[in-house]
Amino acid sequence: MKNIFKSAMVILSALLAFTSCNNSSKSGGKSGALAGNVAEKVYVAPGEHDEFYAFISGGFSGQLSVYGLPSGRLFKVIPVFSQDAEKAYGYNEETKPMLNTSHGFVPWDDSHHPDISQTNGVIDGRWVFINGNNTPRIAKIDLSTFETTEIIEVPNSAGNHSSSFVTENTEYVVAGTRFSIPIPQKDMPIKDYKGNFKGALSFISVDPEHGHMDIKFQVIMPGFDYDLAHPGRGASHGWFFFSTYNSEEASTLLEVNASQNDKDFIAAINWKKIEEYVNNGGGKMMPANYAHNVYDEDTHTATSTMKKEVLVVNPSDVPGAVYLLPTPKSPHGCDVDPSGEYIVGNGKLSANLTVHSFTKMLKAIEDNKVAGDAYGIPILNFEDVLAGVVEQPGLGPLHTEFDGKGNAYTTFFISSEVVKWKLGTWEVVDRQPCYYSVGHLMIPGGNSQKPWGKYVVAMNKITKDRYLPTGPEVTQSAQLYDISGEKMELLLDFPTVGEPHYAAGCPADLIKPRSKKLFKLEDNKHPYACKNEADTKVVREGDVVHVYMTTIRSHFSPDNIEGIKVGDKVYFHITNLEQDYDVPHGVSIIGANTSELLIMPGQTETFLWEPKQVGVWPFYCTDFCSALHQEMQGYVRVSSANASTPLKWSLGEDIE
């Protein structure tokens, strides 16, 4: 009897398993991941390459991580706003200036929204920009070296959050302030916020050839919180849209006080109009103090320059340049579809998803249908600009991306799901759960005229039980869905670095062919470069000693140094003489109060060592370089401060 019962159960569960398999594409969830073809869809065979790059923000790690899709494999963590001992970023003498700000050396930030450069509205794979939220900065990463090559601080800004999104031809990267502040900063009571605090929206021009950034102008807006932004494209190119919350202008207990108004705004900025205004001498130059840090690939060295003024524009001085579109309710994402017609306001406390129409907005402006104004900025009627509403699609909408086939995909934080809906009919097509509490999502090319609508990556805020536990702090995570069919299908969970706030992606072929393999020695213009062993030397200038050292498999030249004294400042300038792909050398010396160096072929890097004890101290190569890597070592003899040991350096004098 018991046996019969048992076999019945077996058959029943087998049936269940089959049924759930068949339904997997509909119900998604865990059963989908069990299906064999799902594993195949994310399998990239050993030695083969992924189809897409995904650049996922490192959140409070301050960095930017590089993944492959569909495999979800992590390739590199690019140091941007935080020091990285592994790569010596912010530790070696060359990159320390990258982290300079008007507040001094800031070794950390909170990195949020990567966006890839575009040409003619299509992703071009040249640079990726990302914002530092805490000490407002915008960084540019060169995608031929995958290194941070420029960081500009944003004055008059605080909580640099509605950033770093680019226009259709990368004319500008924008940086909008989340927190409004007194402009200029001054000592004043916090309770006098209303009407006195202002929000700056910065338009940073990008040199089309070198990508050099320069703040062209800042629009000084009312004291709202500016949350996210996206550029117009196609017909709406020339406009930029910023979501706002806290139109109540509260300065305390915002979770209650900034949720009072039924509608906040999306600010529509006609930047072409303002650009023309400032090109004709409009705007006001105001004193400021902000750092502009540029890394030079030829000298392998960054320099930091303090800039002393910035051009500000009062929006009421430029009629027709700025409008406010009422949007329910504390909108987070502010997303523009590939055609440029629809502007989606993801009102995170609203039951519905609001979509504005660019054409209707222009019509309302033309007909001068203004509902009111905020500090002189015209407010349009909600109904006049509304394209449509997605009725009750989920709870807590955050961010919408597009597949280029007429569909939109919105994340819902509270109901923890991705919902697919149709542009124009506003009907919900499909929904899939996220594990758990999804924030932003990314379709490669999503912020452009040409998305590659094959996958969507959902970035979650909470993982709970999805991975092996690692104590109270568990991994951050993302999930990959196949969106090539009518229904979405969950393919993969993968862990991420820091909090993955936001991501940008594109086909690998846009970047792969341009990826640099090495730095040419002949192009190395580092002031302390040493391009062959005959030129290696040690130079004393008072208590500062410069060691001009080289590396090649598998020795340092020189590898014996004498005549260093306690109290000296010893700068090791090390040039990697290798000219072959993927042959970096590393180096450090016992007791160095800094990180190792990791020197790419043809590159020169410098670390400072201040010996505190008499003795003979070894240094060695820290990155396995060849069969003789363990032999790649040397000694520095340190004498007492008043010793007269002569300065000497050598390599292999005893060689037979």
């Binding site: 090495l518 062959n532 080289t550 030249s557 000219q579 072959d580 292999g652 037979e656």
Partner: protein, 167 residues
């Protein structure tokens, strides 16, 4: 009495230490199967000539260079350029006239074909995997790899011309 004994033992200890010191100095370093010994044993067997001394003028190696004709006269301009490239790209491991990390190029064309030399410069990774002489050289030089310095064919040819001047 006690003091005398103390002094005596101190002296004795001092003597012992200084003696010990001298002994150390004499024995500084040690010798265990040093290479020279092995080499003399090897040279008695004619077939185990090291790769660096082996002569093979027919082997052209593996790589982009299949045939090279050398003019009777050395092209001095080309050789000067080659010397320059050699200094910047090769001297980290090669001295012109003596063994360093790798072998000396002096008189190399008495031992190797010009094609082999250029292929070793231009295609070292494949050479040390497949060419019997290059493989043997890698072992003879303790596994120290011949680095690919990504030279152009023109620069490699100039280095070859420079090698012709090393006599």
């Amino acid at each position: 009495m006690k003091t005398t004994r103390n002094i005596l033992s101190t002296l004795l200890i001092a003597l012992l230490i200084s003696c010990g010191g001298k002994e150390e100095k004499k024995k500084a370093g040690f010798s265990y199967e040093k290479k020279t010994v092995t080499e003399t044993t090897n040279t008695t067997k004619a077939e185990t000539l090291p790769a660096s001394k082996t002569v093979d003028l027919n082997n052209k190696g593996i790589g982009p260079i299949t045939s090279i004709t050398l003019d009777a006269e050395v092209n001095q301009d080309m050789a000067n350029h080659g010397a320059d490239v050699f200094k910047n790209m090769c001297t980290a491991c090669h001295r012109p006239d003596k063994k360093f990390i790798g072998p000396a190029p002096k008189n190399i064309l008495d031992r190797r074909s010009p094609e082999w030399v250029m292929n070793m410069i231009l295609n070292p990774d494949e050479m040390v995997q497949k060419d019997p002489l290059a493989k043997a050289l890698l072992i003879e030089f303790n596994g120290s790899p011949m680095a690919n310095q990504n030279l152009s064919e023109e620069d490699a040819r100039a280095i070859l011309e420079y090698f012709r001047t090393l006599k």
